[in-house]
């Protein structure tokens, strides 16, 4: 644990240095640092939402303005005795109002994604700015003066240097706690692939709301302190739309999604515009514009690289003997029941009256030529698709209406055909997402992850970034992630597609190992060799309906299967020779 002690010592020394600085620096330099802390704190708060969850907002100037006006109006209408009390109350109210606004906005706005979310937030901040400047009670038009709150003996720039340093510390602390907790994994899942996230049990809306409210609250607090530091606030200087976009540029420059990125980006831009280019006359916008453009073009992923390529292992827990207790006891009732499922797409019957029952603890394979409706069947079971008719039952309980999140909670996990790893994260972290949001819970998530690594033979690749894995390993990572959630029923969608011989055998070994542990597996696969080797039971689908069912040997011999697979034989000769060749 020597490493941790050094780290703490370094932080303490850093803080001592930062607090001593003002006495050494000139007032101008102190003000530059004050502006730097202000920008860095705002960028860090924005990054929690934009970087960690991948939701870019162009409207954070709205929260800044709400904080500023809350503090200004509070100290104008309410005498709180000492100036310090006015500042603290102002910051508290600013944070609270911004957080409440975010909470109210959360449900409607967080349903939007990408550019639509960004523009919606821009719209919100513009509405607030217009209301502030045109509603008399908000006095944004005429402007509000704020009382000086710094202690008489201390220079204002030194005082606000401390205030904004504190706010930056708070902002960083919140960002760090998010990064090291279960929340971070959930957010990574949301950022990387929000459609897959619920399948792994990540409560996407709840997590997005938490992060949105936190990010807004901090921005509101900073807005309040900003109002006091200026001493006079109007709608323009409070809801500065350009600040709303500047903080995005800071994060882009530093490295979106990293902890130090926003800090680095803010430091560079403030230093460049206020120190190096301080005395440029009449070309301020030209230089800033060209600066922004070149930065984004030259460093698309920012200085620190995108999404924290060097991701620290987050939960250093002791490696306990990996045990994977078998799923909760099950009799011999079928785990999964489908009766006459029909799915109709604009006139095309993808599935017509398909019924099947999956026995527990077995590998149940579904095969059929391309385009027979296998994937559609899969989407019905994993609640991606509501069947036009028919019922799906899991352990007796009807699930065809359930949300994917609820399904994964009740023990159904799906391994995708096109492996969807979280590119920016290591192999271990990818599996941790499955473990954390599965049914094992954070305490022994680490142990379950180790077990999953061992079963899928990925232990020595644990720190590799997922993006660099070849297809074979990616497929095993997908399985490991599913195993880590300790499901009862695994739905594997063509796990062997595109694998070479050895990789296919690995996957088959893993599936066999899971069956031995009592898990039930439904397999959709093309590779007939795999089907024949590992399936306990096979069901053949062709042109949307079930044509036969039974053990692998029975099914392969059935003429209807051969015909469905190889197409209608042009001449009797061909079919004759084929049937005899099959032993």
């Amino acid at each position: 644990m020597r490493g941790r002690a050094i780290a703490i010592a370094a932080i303490v020394a850093g803080i001592a240095l930062l607090l001593a600085l003002p006495s050494v620096l000139s007032p101008f330099q102190v003000r530059v640092l004050q502006n730097l802390f202000f920008a860095a704190a705002l960028a860090t708060a924005w990054n929690i939402m934009g970087g960690f969850a991948g939701y870019w907002s162009f409207g954070h100037a709205g929260f800044l303005g709400v904080g500023a006006f809350a503090a200004a109006l509070l100290q104008e209408h309410l005498d709180l005795g000492s100036p310090a009390a006015a500042l603290v109350a102002g910051i508290a109210l600013g944070a609270a109002l911004a957080a409440i606004l975010a909470a109210l906005l959360a449900y409607p706005v967080l349903r939007l994604r990408g550019a639509y979310f960004a523009i919606a937030m821009l719209g919100v901040s513009l509405v607030l700015s217009e209301l502030a400047s045109n509603l008399d009670i908000l006095e944004g038009g005429v402007g509000i003066s704020l009382i000086a709150v710094g202690p008489e003996w201390m220079a204002p720039e030194v005082f606000y240097y401390g205030v904004f340093l504190l706010l930056l510390a708070v902002s960083l602390a919140v960002a760090t706690t998010i990064r090291t907790g279960k929340l971070h994994y959930g957010l990574a899942a949301i950022r990387e692939d929000e459609d897959t996230a619920p399948m792994l049990g990540v409560p996407t809306l709840r997590y997005k709301t938490i992060v949105f409210v936190l990010s807004a609250g901090i921005t509101g607090a900073i807005g309040a302190a900003y109002a006091f530091s200026l001493g006079y606030i109007t709608a323009d200087s409070g809801f500065r739309a350009d600040v709303g976009l500047d903080i995005v540029v800071y994060c882009l420059l530093g490295g979106i999604g990293t902890l130090a990125g926003p800090l680095l980006g803010a430091a560079m831009m403030i230093f460049l515009t206020q120190v190096v280019l301080g005395n440029l006359l009449q070309v301020h916008l030209l230089v800033t514009g060209i600066l922004i453009t070149t930065i984004v073009l030259l460093l698309p992923n920012g200085i620190l690289g995108a999404f924290a390529r060097r991701n620290r292992r987050s939960i250093p827990a002791p490696v306990v003997a990996a045990t994977l207790s078998p799923p909760i006891g099950h009799g011999d009732a079928p785990v999964l029941m489908l009766d006459n499922i029909t799915v109709q797409f604009r006139g095309l019957r993808a599935l017509s009256e398909v019924s099947l029952a999956v026995p527990p603890g077995k590998i149940y394979s579904i095969i059929g030529p391309n385009g027979a409706g296998k994937s559609t069947l899969f989407n019905v079971v994993t609640a991606y698709l509501r069947p036009t008719e028919g019922v799906v039952r899991y352990r007796g309980e009807r699930i065809d209406g359930m949300s994917t999140l609820h399904l994964s909670r009740s023990g159904i996990a799906r391994a995708f055909q096109i492996a969807r790893p979280f590119q920016g994260m290591s192999v271990l972290d990818n599996i941790m997402v499955g473990a954390l949001f599965g049914r094992s819970g954070p305490r022994d998530a680490r142990a379950v992850t180790e077990a999953a690594l061992r079963i899928t033979g990925l232990t020595d690749l644990r720190d590799q970034p997922a993006s660099s894995l070849p297809i074979g390993h990616l497929r095993r990572l997908e399985l490991a992630r599913v195993i880590a959630a300790r499901p009862d029923l695994i739905l594997a969608d063509e796990p062997c597609a595109g694998l070479n011989a050895t990789e296919t055998l690995d996957v088959e070994r893993i599936l066999g190992d899971l069956r031995a542990r009592g898990m039930t597996i439904v397999l959709v696969e093309h590779d007939m060799a795999t089907i024949m080797r590992i399936s306990d039971h096979v069901c053949v689908i062709s042109a949307g309906s079930k044509i036969c069912e039974g053990t692998p040997d029975q099914v392969v011999r059935d003429p209807r299967v051969i015909e469905a697979y190889l197409g209608t034989p042009a001449s009797k000769l061909v079919s004759a020779s084929l049937t005899t060749a099959v032993d």
Partner: protein, 411 residues
């Protein structure tokens, strides 16, 4: 510009040569540079007015340094060094860069343009006990903080329309009703509040006050209500772009009023050029006019200043540029009266100033804004393309045309 009478010309020439003679003798000594700091918005919505203020500063500094070869403070020859920074309408940037100038030992500051920038920066210079003379921030709140080192050429916004309302009271036939259109910003709202107060005392009925957002592209809605309520007077307190829009749309929708008063717009030449004959008979707020007969300690008189301005500036003069020039004249005079370059001594000299400059009489209220009566604006009216002073009578250069002729009858 009416032709100069011979007498005026000789008088100003004599005054000018006297100063030059003093200046040449002094050139032998090495001159001490006195830096004037401060920030200007070169981008953002106030950029055009910011540029006019900057021209006003540059022209006087050039005259003092090059024409006069400097100015004497005690027995020391000084030259002026203008160090303005671009605050890009960002208060944080302005405050930071002005702090830098204070650290570098700049003792005297000139103000930026909009109140949102002037207020935070004046707090910094006040704390550093450096005087700031500005011709930009009109908002009352600059002068209600009890700052001692802050001086503003313009009287606080709420008192700027006193002369206009006084004129309305005395106009025959009687003015009964008035409507106000005002932009929601720190300059417009106090101006409107002051006017509303004065109108109540004057017994003129205020029909409606239309409040407008800072950016607007259509006022036809307001105009159709005005056509319905037919007020005698329309007072439009809007920045130059919206003032132009107002006149354009009043003309194109045939909305006529007896009196149209716009504090910002008609006094700017580009505004009059754009609107041509439709800018005639518009009333505005005039602080200065090339034909005024004021003497000036540096230029000799207003005419000499105007000639020098035209020769040395790429932009046409405006109220703000002359007021900006006046700031520097005040500084130079105060330094010479204080006989020292110590900021606090100069500050005391500034506070005591009561003299005539090419801009007019300069005397400050205890809070630092221009004395509303002495430095208050006169009422001007655009008559065949040029602004004429029409009120108060003693300063008038022409008779008020009232009521305004209809837009359609303009030739």
């Amino acid at each position: 510009m009416t032709s100069m009478t011979r007498r005026d010309f000789t008088r100003s020439a004599a005054a000018g040569t006297a100063l030059i003679a003093a200046g040449s003798r002094a050139r032998a000594q090495t001159a001490k540079t006195v830096t004037l700091g401060g920030s200007i918005p070169f981008s953002g919505s106030q950029a055009n007015t910011g540029l006019n203020v900057y021209e006003g500063y540059k022209v006087v500094v050039k005259y003092v340094n090059e024409k006069l070869g400097g100015f004497k403070v005690g027995n020391e020859l000084c030259k002026l060094d203008l160090q303005m920074i671009d605050d890009a309408s960002d208060p944080q940037r302005a405050v930071t860069l002005i702090q830098k100038q204070i650290d570098e030992g700049v003792n005297f500051f000139l103000g930026s343009f909009s109140s949102a920038i002037v207020l935070p920066t004046v707090a910094v210079t006040e704390r550093a006990r450096k005087p700031m003379v500005q011709a930009g921030g009109g908002s009352d709140q600059i002068f209600t903080h009890g700052y001692r080192y802050s001086f503003g050429i313009y009287p606080r916004a709420s008192r700027q329309l006193n002369s206009f309302v006084a004129m309305l009271k005395g106009m025959k036939p009687q003015v009964q009703t008035i409507s106000i259109a005002v932009t929601n910003d720190p300059y417009g709202l106090p101006l409107a509040a002051g006017a509303t107060e004065a109108l109540k005392e004057a017994g003129i009925k205020l029909l409606e006050t239309y409040k407008l957002p800072p950016t607007v592209n259509d006022v036809s809605g307001v105009l159709s209500e005005i056509r319905a309520s037919t007020p005698d007077v329309l007072l439009a307190i809007t920045h130059e772009d919206i003032s132009t829009l107002f006149v354009q749309q009043m003309v194109s929708t045939g909305t006529d009023v007896k009196v149209l008063y716009m504090p910002l717009g008609p006094e700017i030449e580009q505004f009059r050029k754009t609107l041509g004959k439709y800018s005639n008979q518009l009333l505005t707020l005039i602080y200065w006019e090339p034909r005024v007969k004021y003497s000036d300690p540096i230029f000799g008189n207003a005419q000499a200043y105007y000639e020098w301005y035209k020769a040395n500036s790429s932009r046409v003069w405006s109220n703000q540029s002359v007021a900006a020039s006046c700031c520097i004249v005040c500084y130079v005079t105060a330094m010479q009266k204080a006989g020292s370059l110590d900021p606090t001594k100069v500050r005391d000299a500034l506070a005591a100033l009561d003299f005539t400059t090419m801009y007019g009489r300069v005397k400050w209220t205890p809070e630092g804004d221009g004395d509303p009566v002495l430095m208050g604006p006169t009422v001007g009216q655009v008559q065949n393309g040029a602004p004429e002073i029409v009120y108060p009578p003693d300063a008038a250069t022409s008779k008020l045309i009232y009521p305004m002729s209809k837009w359609a009858e303009r030739t």
